[in-house]
Amino acid sequence: MNPGRSSAAPRTPPESTRLGTETRLAVEQVSYAYSANPSQAPLFTLEATSFQARPGEIVAILGPNASGKSTLMQLIAGVLSPLSGRILLNGFAIHSLSPRTRAQRIAMVQQESRLLFRPRVWEFVMQGRHAHGRSLRFESHTDMQIVQDALMHVGAADLSDRLMDQISGGEKQRVILARALAQQPLLLLLDEPTLHLDIAAQVGLLDALRRLSARYRYSVIVVTHELNLAAEYADQILLMQSGRCLRVGPPASIYQRELLEQVFQIPLRVEMRGHGRPRVTILTDS
C-alpha cells in the first residue's frame, strides 16, 4: 500500500479552490536509520514513508514520542539525508540543493536555542533574508520591507525594536514564524510551534498560519501533539507510530477511535462535527 496516494480523496469545493492541483512536496519511500556508532545496530529506524503536499496545504504529523516525527521533519528540511528514497520539492531533490538554495525554498520553525547575545526583533527576522543575496552585504530596502511585512503578517509589527529576550513566549513564537516568512519559502516546516503557548496564542498562531498558507501558497508541514488543533487546521494528517507511517489522509479518515487509542495508548472518544472536523476527548479513569 502506498499511503501517499490516499491524499487524492475528494474535497469540499472551497478547499479545492484554495489548494493548488500540482504537487509541491513529494516524499517518496523515504527511510532513515540512526545509530550512535556506524558498526552497531541502529537505535532508531524510520521505515519507508511516502506522502505529498500541494501548495497552500497544511499537513500535520501526529504520533507519540519517539515515533519518528522529528526525524521525518529533519529529512524534509534537508538536515538529514535519507537512507533510501527521495524527497522532491517542485521536482528537485532537496538533498542535492546547496544550504543557501535550500533556505530560499524551505523555512523551519522550531524551538529556539538559547541566544548568546540578544538581537532586536527586526534583526532576528532579518536573518530570514540571509539566503537571499550575497553572504556579506548590507540590508536593502527590499529586505527591510519584507521584514516589516513578515512582522505585520504575524501581528508583531509593534515589537520590531524590542530585544528578543524582552518579549513573551507567545510573541517570540510569532517572531520566529515571521523569520520563516521572511525567507519567502515554498515549504514551511513547523516543529511543535504551539509548545509552551496558552490556548489563545495557539489558536492565534494557527489562524495566522492558515491565512498565510492560503494567501502565499506555502505548503505547511507541522509536527504537533495537539490532536484537536491538528483536526481543526490540517488538510491532511500523517499518523506515525514507532518509526512507521501508519496512515495518511484527511482528518475525518484518520480520527477513528480504535486507531488513535492503539497509537496513543489511551482511552478516548472521537466526535465528528458538522464541518467534517473531528474532535477528540481523552477519557480518564474517573
Binding site: 538536515v79 529556539e112 536555542s113 548568546l116 536573518q127 540571509h130 556579506l136 548590507f138 540590508e139 520590531s160
Partner: protein
Amino acid sequence: MRPLTFRKLFFQCFILAVILFFVVILALKFGAVPVSLYALGRDLLRVLLGQSSQISSDYGLIIQNIRFPRIILAVIVGASLSVAGTSFQALLRNPLADPYVLGVSYGAAVAAVLGLVAEPHLALPPALAALFTPLCAFIGAAATITAVYFLGRRQGQIESNTLLLGGVITGYFLSAIIVFLLSTVNSSNTRGMVFWLMGNLSTSFQKSVYWFLAAGFLLATGVIYASANDLNILLSGEKEAMHLGVDVRRVRFVVYVAASLLTGLAVSVSGAIGYVGLIVPHIIRLIFGSDHRTLLPTSALGGAIAMVIADTLARIVVAPNELPVGAVTAVVGAPLFIYLLRRRLA
C-alpha cells in the same frame, strides 16, 4: 529598525582609527627617555617625506628604531588577538572563549622553550638565529591547532563543545610539559622562557617580519570578515543557522583556521599576552552591538588601542625597567572583566 549601512560602519571605524592615531603618538612620546611632541612631529614629517637620514639625534633613533617598531608590533598583535577572540567566541558559542582557549599559546610556548634550549647547540646563521624561536613557536602553534582540530571533530565536522573540551585539555597537558621543561632544563634563559608564558612586545625583528605579520593579519581577518553575516546567524544556534542557509561546516572550518592563524602569528612574536582577546570584544560589543560586520573591524582597532596603551604602561610604570605587557593586561583586564561579567548578570 535602523539597519547597518556602509556609512555607519565607516564612521565607527574612523573614530576608532583617530583614537588609535593619538594613542600611537602618545606612546611614541612617553618612555624612559622623554621626547617632546615638537621633536616627534618634526621627525615624523621627515620620515614621511623620505628624509629619514636627516634624523640624527639620539632621540630620533630611539623613536625610529625602538619605539616605533614596538608600537607597530603592539598594533598588529592587539588587533590579531581581538579578532581571534571575537571569532572564537562566535565559533564556540561561548562568551568566555579567548584566543588561547584551545591551547594554542601553550603549544607555541612548549615549542619556543624547546627552541630556546636547542638554539645554542645549533650553529645557525645570525639572520636565522634571530627568527629561530618565533619560528619554533609558530610551528608549535600550528601543530596544536591541527591536533585540537582532529580532537574536536565529530562525524566529520567540528562540534563546538567537543572542540572546546579537546582544546582545554590539550592546553592543560601542554602547560604541564612547560612546567617539566622549566624545572628540568638548567638554563640561563629562564627569563626568555617566562617571556613566552607572560607575553612581551620588546623583541624587535627585521622589517620583513612586520610586513609578513601585517599581511597574515589582513588575510585572515578578511577571510573571517567574509563570513561575518554567517557568524551572526551561527550565534543564534547551529541548527537554526543550517535552516537559514549557512553552510555551517564550511564556516566553522574557515573561521577556525583563520582565527588560529591569527593567534599563532601573535603568539610567535609576543608570547601569550592574556585578556586582550577576551575583554576587547566584550567592550566593543557593549558599545557597538554584536553584529560581526561591525564587531570584527572595531574589535581589531579596539584591540590595537588597548595593546598600545598596555605596552606603553608596561614601559613607563617602572622605567627605566619594564613590566611584561601580559602582566599589565592581566592586572587591568581581570578586574575589568569581573566588572563586565557582574553587569551582565545584574
